[in-house]
Symmetry: D2
Subunit: 489 residues, 4 copies
C-alpha cells in the first residue's frame, strides 16, 4: 500500500487536479476547503484505522491477486469471514466519524464488477477480467480511493434510456475508437467523488437490447479531461463554510458523505480500462450485486451512527437531570433495539454469504435488501426518538456568536446550565451534535443511498419464493399438490 | 382594530424598540432583517386574512367585551362554533405560509388566563379579571400580537424551582413594590417573540406552596426596560441571511416560527398588568388549559403544512414522470390519511368543547392531548414519506449559484430536467421546498411545541377514567361490583 | 314504537320464522339457541337503552316523517347534532356489550338509500322516495330491526358482475313481473341477519350499463319465501354452544355481531318495496354514502370495545400486583391514546356533516374513511397491547371444568391466585374476557366490516384534492401558476 | 438414539403414565386423544427429520460427550456452526408443522444448565457437571424429549418468593433427605409437557440470599409420583376435540405447542438428578442463558410459521382472482420483509456466538433479545396483513357441517367459488388455515413465549453499553473525556 496514513491520503489528493465547482466557484484544494475538508477527514479515517494495531485485522486484507497486504476497501471478498469483518469495520468507522466515510461505494463496485465480468468472459470469451485484475492490482497497490458511479439522472422516469428526449440522461458511449471509448452523461449523488482518485462507471439498471451504448463499465481518474464535478449542498454547509466550531455539531466531520454530480463531457476511456461494452444481458447482475453489497453495508455503518446518537441523547439527559425517567430509559432502549435490529441483518446477510462462480463472495441478496429497507425506516425513527429526548432547544438555541458575546454570552450560559457539575458548553455541543445528526441530509441519505425503498421491495418480493411458500401452506391445509403453474402468484 | 393590514402590522413593529440579539449582533428592524423578516411575513398573514372577504368570517370575531369586530386571535371563545372556526382558520394559514404564523401562543394564553382568573376572583375575592379585561380590551382594539411566555429553562429537571442551585431557572418575582412587581428569569423557545407587541408571562407548571414567587401572571410590552431577546438558529438560516432566493425553499416564509429566548433582567410590571401573584393552587389550571388549547391547534396548522408537503411531492413525482406508480399513489394516500387523522382530533376536541365557569369555552382536554401526541408521530412519518417520494436529490442538489453559473449552469439544468414540458427550475424549487419542510427545525417544533410527548401521555392517562373502564370490564366478565377503592389503577 | 323493550324484541323474533342453518342443522328459536342468543341480547340492548331515562335522549329521535318518537336506529339524520348523538350512543353500546350490536348496518342503509332515491326521483321523475318513506314509516312505527345487505360473493374478483362464469355471484333480478321482481344470489357476512325483521338489499358497488339487473334496491322480511340463511362460525362458538359460563369470556354477549350468509333463492319483492331498479348511475352513490356512514360508526363502537379491553387489562394488572409498573402505565396510556384517536374521527366526521339534497345529513366522507382506516390498524394494536399486559396465561389457562374439578380444582385455584384480596375466579374471568376480545373473529371484523382497508384508501386518495394541494406548494415555492391540466396527479 | 422414528416416539409415550387432566377429565393416551395428538405429531416431526437424508445433517449432531450420533435437540452447541444449523432446522420445522414442535425448551435448558454448572463446580468445587453429564448421556442415547420447566406462577408480582403469602408460588425444596430433595409448587405454560419424557426444573429468576430453597435445578421423569399436569385450553380446541377435519385449519397439527401447568405435589428428586441446590448467585446466569438461547430460536421457528402464512394468503388471493393487485403484492412483500427481518436476528445472534468457560457456545445475548422483541411485534403485524388480504370470510364462513349438508351444502359451495379452475374446498381449507394461524393462541405464544416483551427490553438496555456510546458522542462533539462515573446513565 503506497498510501498508508491519513496524511499520505491528504497529500495524494493535493497532487491531482479534478475540476470541482461549489456554490458557483471552483474548489482548489479539497483537503483545505471548509466544504470538503470534513469529508476528506472522514475518508482519511479508513486509512488511519489500517495503521492502528487495534483495527489492523479488520481494516486490511491479503490480496487474492498478489498476496500482498491491502486495504480491505480494495479487497475482493474471499469468504464469509471477509464479509463479517467488513461489517464490523463499517460499524466502527460509523462510530468514529458519525458520518459516511465514502469508500464503500467503490469497494462494492469492485466486488460486483469482478464477479460479473468473470461470468461474461466465461460465456462470451472476452478478456474483461484480465483488464479488471490489472486495474485492481494498481488500485490495491497504490491504495486508491474509488468512487463507484452508478446513478444516472434518468430524466423522465416513465421512459427507457433510448426513449428519453435527451439521450444523455443515462451515461452512454458516444464514440468508439480503436484505442477506447468516449462517454457522455452524468452520475448524480456521487458520495466521496471529490476526494476520490478514480471513478468506476457502471450502468444504473438492467438494459435492453436497444440500450447497448448504455451498457458499459469503465474506470477513469477523477481528473481526466472532460470530467466536471459539482458539489452539492447539505444541511448546515454554510456553518462549515464559515468555519464555525460549535454550531456545526461535528467539528471534524460532515453530516453525510459529501455528494457531487459528476459530468462526463465527452470523456475518453482507453480500452484497458473498459470492463464491459455492450453486453446488455449482464447489466442486471452488476446492478443487483452492487446493490446487494451496498445495501448490506448500511446496517453496519448506520448502526455506528445510531450508536453515537444514542450516546448523545443519553448524555444530554444526564446533563438535564432527566436520565432516570422511565420514559427516557424506555426510549433509549428502543433506540438500541432498532440499531441492533439493523445490525442483525448486516451480520446475517454476511454469515449467509455464498461464493459466485469467480470465487468472490456475495452476501445473501434477500437479507441485504431487508437490511436496507429497515434503514429507511429505523434511522428516521431513531432520529425521532433522539429529537424527543433532546428537547426543543436543538431548534431554538442561540448561535455560538451569542454564546461568546460580551453582551449576552453570560445570560445564554446562565439559562442553558443543567446539572451543576457539567459545563454548559457540553450541553450546547451535544445539542448541536444531535441537531446535525437528525436534520435533513443525514436522513435523506439513509432513505435513498444504495437505492430507494421501492427498489428493495421489488427485490424482496422477487426473492421471496412464493411458489414454495404456497406449497407449504397447501400441505398444512390438507390440500393435495397441483401443477406448479397454478402456484405462481 | 387599529392594525388592520399587513403593512399596518409592519409599521407597528417599526415603531417599537425591543432589544434583540442574533448571531452576536443586534437586530434593528425585524421587518427588514433577513433572519426575522420571513417570520414577520408569516405573522402578517394573520392580519391579511382578516381583511380578505373570503376569510373574514373565520379570521375575525365579535368581542364579548366590547361588541366590536376584532381579530379572532384576540378573542375569548364563546361557543363551539368559535372553536371550530379557529381550527379552520389555522389550517388555511398553515396552507398559505407553510410554517408557524405565531399568533396562537398568545391567543391560547389569553383564553387560559381569562377563564382561570375568573375562578380565582370567585374563590378569593381578588380583582384579577377586571384588570385582565382592561388589558385585553386594549389588545383587541389595537389588534396587537401577544407572545404567550410559558416555558422556563428549568435547570436541573430532577429539582423543583425552589431546589435549583440557581433560583432564576424559573421566572420569579424578586421584588414587590406598591405599584407592581419586579421579575427575573428567562423564557425559552418563544415563538414569534421578536415580532410581537406584548408578552403575557405565565407559570410553566403546577407550583407548590414553596414556590409562591414563581406563581404569577403578568403582561408587559416587548420593549420594556430589562427585556433582552436572543433569536435562535434554525436549519437553513444562513441561506436566508445571505438572501438566497431558491435554496431557501420558501422564499417568503420561514421554516418554523422563529424562536427567541426572552430574558427578564429585573423587569418591572405595574399592578394593573399583574393577573396572578402567589395563588399557587391555580397555576396547574393555567398550564393545563393553555396546553389543551395549544395542543388542539397543532392538528390544524400542521395539517396545513402537510397539505403543502403532499402537494409538493405530488407535483415533483409528476415532474419526474413517476406519478402513476402504484407505490407513489399509496404513499401519497398515506400522507393524506395521516394529515386528516390529525385534523380529526382538532375538529373533535373543538366539537366536544365545554364552557368554563367564566363562560369561555375550553376544548376537550383528552382529545386535545391525543391530537398533539399524534403530531409528534405523524409529522415525522409524513416527512419520511415525502423524503421517500422526493428522491435523494434534495440532499445533493447543487446550489443556486451553480444553477446560475456561466460555467456549469447549463449542465446542472440539463441533468436535472424531468418530463419535457415543465421547466427544470420548478423541479429545483419544489425540491428545495421539500428540503426546507422536512429538515430539522420544522420537525423539532412539531415534537416539542405545546409540550413534549411525555407531557401529553401523562394527561391522557390522567383523563382516561380507568375506574369506569374497569367497571365496564367487570360487568361484561360477570364479576360483581366491588368497592371503588379496589378499582383504582 | 311498537317494540319498546328487550323482551318485546325477543317476543317479536319468536313470532317470525326465518330459515336458518348452523353447523348443519336448523335453528328454531334464535332467542334461545346458544349460538345466536348472545347476539340477540346485544341487539336487545339497543331497545333497552331507549327505555332508560339516562340514555333516552341519545337512543331515540323524533321522526321527520311522522313527528313521532322513534328509535334512533330507524332515524334519518336531520342535522349535525343527530350525527353526534349517534356517535355517543354507539360508544355506550360498545361499552355495555363489548361487541357488535348489529343495528348500524340497517340504519346506515336507510340513510344512504333515503338521500339517493330523493335524487333519483328529482332527476328521473320516479317515485322511489314515496315508496321508501312508506316502508320506513312502517319500520319506525314498529321499531323493526333491519339488516342492510350489501356484500356480494363476487366470485372471481378480477371480473365484473356480467363477466362472471356464474352470473349469480352478485344478487340480481332474474325476473320482472307486473307486481314486482324476483331476485337471486347471496349476501355474505350479514351482521345481525338472523335476528333482524327485515332485509334492505343494496348493490355492492358502482355498476356499469351492462349490469342493470344488478342495480336494484329492495326490502323484504327475513322470513320471505326463498330466503335461506347460514350462520357462520366464530372463534369460541363451541364454548357458547356447550353453555359454558366462564370460558366464553363474555357470558351474556358474543364476540362479534354474528354473521350469516343470506341466500336469495328466487325471492319475490313486490313493487312497493322496490326502491331502485336498473338506474345504474346511482349505485355508486348508494355504496359510497352507505360506506361513509358505516365507516364513521366504527370509530365509536370499537372505541367502546377498547374501553372495555383497557379496563380489563388494567384490572388484571391490579390482580397480578403489576399495576404500578411504568411500562404497564405506558401501555395502558397507549391503549387509551389509540382509542381516543379513533373516537376523534367519528366525532369529527359528524361535526363536519353536511346536508344532502334531500335534507338528510351525511358525515364528511374523507374523515369517515380515515376513521375506518385507523380502526383496521389500531384495534389490532390495542389487542396486541392487551395481550402483552395480560400475560401468557390467556392462552394456556385450564378449562372451567378443571377449575371446578374435585381432583385438580383446588390446585388450579392455588396457582392462579394473585394479590391476596381478590378472588382467583375474577382473575380467570378477566383473563377469559381478554382472550375473547383479542382473538380472531373480533379483529377480523374490525379489519373488514364496512369495507376492507384498500377500499378506504381509494376513497382517501380520491377525496384528497391533489390539484389544490399542488397549487399550495407551487405558491410557496415561488412557482407561477400553470394551467390546471398539468396539475392533476 | 433409541427413539429413531415418529412411531418409536409414539410408542415411547404410550409406555409411560403421566397424570394429565383436560377439561375436567384424565387423558389416557396423549397420542390418541384429539386434544393432544396434534401436538404429539408436531413433536414427532423432530424425530422424523433426523431420519430423512435431506435433513439429517441439520437434525442430528455428534455428542461431545460420547462421540455418538444424537438428535440435535439433545446436543450441547460446540461452535457457531452448531448454532447456525439449529436456526435452519427450526425454520424448516416451523414450515412443516406451522406450529410449535416443543423440543426447544428442553434443548435450551440443557445448554443453559450445562454451561452454568461447569462454572459452579469451578468456583465451589461441587460435582454438578458430572451428575448432569450422566443424565444428559442418558437423554442423548435414549433420545428423550425434555420439557424445560422455568415459569413459576409468581402470585403477587410486586413481591419476592419469600414475601408471598403462599410460599409455594415459586417451586421450592420443602424437604432435604440424604438421598435427595422433595419439591413443591407449579410451573405454568409448559409447552410440550404432556408429551415429554423428562422435566428439567430450573429457577424462574435471579434469587437473593433469602431464597435458597427456590434456587435449585433438577430432572425428573414426567410420570414421577406427585406430578400432576393440567392441559390448558387453546383457541379452536373444541373443533379438534370433535374431530372436525376442515374447520380445524391444520388437520394434522395444533395451533401452538400445547401448554400444561405442571404441579409438583411434593415430588422426590434423587441426588444424582439434582444439578444445583441453594447456590443462589448462579440462578441469574441460568435464567439469562436459557432466555437468550430460547429467544434466539423464535426468529427461526416463527419465520417458518410466517412462511406458511405468506403462502396461504398468496394462494387465497390467487383463488379470489386478486393476486395481481398492487396493494396485494405490496402487503405480501411486507409479510416477507418482516419474516426475513426476524430471521436475520436468529442468524446474527448465532453467527456472533461465543464460547462459555465450559466450551459450550452461547448466542449473542443482545441480538437474541432483539430477535424475540421483534417477534412480539412482527408476528402480530404479519397476522394483521394476512387477515387484511384474506378477507372477512375467515370470520363468517359456515361450518364444515353446512358445507357437507344436503340442504345447504350446494349453496355454500356455489357462493364461495372463486376463480374457475380451483375447487371451492381449497378456498375454504386455506381460509380455515389462516383463521387458525392468526387467531388468539398462536399470537399470545409469540408475545409471551421465552419471556414477555418487557423482559427483553431490560436486557437490551443492560447490554447496550451506554458508557461507551456516550464517549463516542463526546468525542465527535469535541468534548474532552471525563471521569467514567459521570458517564453512566
Amino acid at each position: 500500500m503506497k498510501i498508508k496514513t491519513s496524511s499520505d491520503y491528504m497529500s495524494s489528493l493535493q497532487s491531482i487536479n479534478p475540476v470541482i465547482y461549489y456554490k458557483g466557484e471552483k474548489i482548489k484544494d479539497v483537503t483545505l476547503h471548509p466544504a470538503t475538508a470534513p469529508h476528506v477527514r472522514a475518508a482519511a479515517m479508513t486509512y488511519a484505522l489500517a495503521s492502528q494495531a487495534e483495527h489492523h485485522d479488520l481494516a486490511t486484507a491479503t490480496s487474492h491477486l498478489t498476496g500482498r497486504k491491502i486495504s480491505r476497501f480494495t479487497h475482493v471478498h474471499q469468504n464469509v469471514e471477509d464479509l463479517l469483518k467488513k461489517v464490523k469495520l463499517l460499524r466502527i468507522l460509523g462510530q468514529k466519524t458519525g458520518t459516511c466515510f465514502q469508500r464503500c461505494v467503490g469497494f462494492d463496485g469492485i466486488n460486483a464488477v469482478y464477479s460479473v465480468v468473470y461470468e461474461v468472459d466465461e460465456k462470451l470469451g472476452t478478456d474483461y477480467l484480465e483488464r479488471f485484475k490489472q486495474w485492481l492490482t494498481y488500485i490495491q497497490d497504490e491504495n486508491l480511493m474509488v468512487v463507484g458511479a452508478m446513478t444516472d439522472p434518468k430524466g423522465d422516469r416513465s421512459k427507457n434510456p433510448s426513449e428519453q428526449p435527451d439521450p444523455d440522461q443515462f451515461v452512454r458511449v458516444v464514440e468508439r475508437r480503436n484505442d477506447g471509448i468516449v462517454v457522455r452523461g452524468a452520475k448524480l449523488h456521487m458520495t466521496g467523488a471529490v476526494n476520490s482518485h478514480e471513478i468506476l462507471i457502471m450502468p444504473t439498471m438492467a438494459m435492453d437490447e436497444k440500450s447497448k451504448d448504455y451498457a458499459f463499465v469503465g474506470a477513469i481518474p477523477v481528473d481526466a479531461p472532460g470530467i466536471i464535478m459539482v458539489f452539492g449542498r447539505q444541511a448546515g454547509d454554510d456553518r462549515r463554510d464559515k468555519l464555525e466550531t460549535i454550531d456545526v455539531g461535528k467539528p471534524r466531520f460532515g453530516s453525510v458523505g459529501g455528494e457531487a454530480m459528476i459530468i462526463f463531457d465527452d470523456v475518453f476511456i482507453p480500452n484497458e480500462r473498459v470492463f464491459l461494452d455492450g453486453e446488455t444481458e449482464f447489466t442486471a447482475s452488476i446492478v443487483y450485486r452492487f446493490a446487494a453489497h451496498h445495501r448490506s453495508n448500511y446496517g453496519a455503518c448506520k448502526t455506528g451512527l445510531m450508536d453515537v446518537l444514542t450516546g448523545a441523547v443519553s448524555y444530554l439527559c444526564q446533563i438535564q437531570g432527566a436520565a432516570k425517567g422511565s420514559h427516557v430509559r424506555d426510549k433509549v432502549t428502543e433506540m438500541i433495539h432498532l440499531s441492533e435490529t439493523l445490525y442483525s441483518s448486516s451480520i446475517a446477510c454476511s454469515a449467509e454469504g455464498v461464493p459466485t462462480e469467480s470465487g468472490a463472495y456475495m452476501v445473501d441478496t434477500m437479507l441485504a435488501n431487508v437490511c436496507k429497507q429497515n434503514v429507511t425506516r429505523f434511522h428516521f425513527e431513531v432520529a425521532r426518538l433522539a429529537v424527543d429526548l433532546a428537547g426543543g432547544f436543538i431548534a431554538t438555541l442561540p448561535s455560538e456568536h451569542d454564546l461568546k458575546s460580551d453582551e449576552v454570552g453570560h445570560l445564554v450560559k446562565k439559562y442553558f446550565t443543567g446539572v451543576a457539575d457539567i459545563p454548559v458548553e457540553e450541553r450546547i455541543k451535544i445539542g448541536r451534535l444531535i441537531e446535525a445528526m437528525t436534520g435533513g441530509t443525514a436522513l435523506v441519505e439513509s432513505m435513498h443511498g444504495a437505492g430507494s425503498p421501492q427498489a428493495q421491495r421489488i427485490m424482496i418480493f422477487r426473492e421471496g419464493d412464493l411458489t414454495k411458500k404456497v406449497s407449504l401452506a397447501k400441505a398444512l391445509a390438507g390440500i393435495p399438490s397441483v401443477k406448479p403453474k397454478q402456484e405462481a402468484s
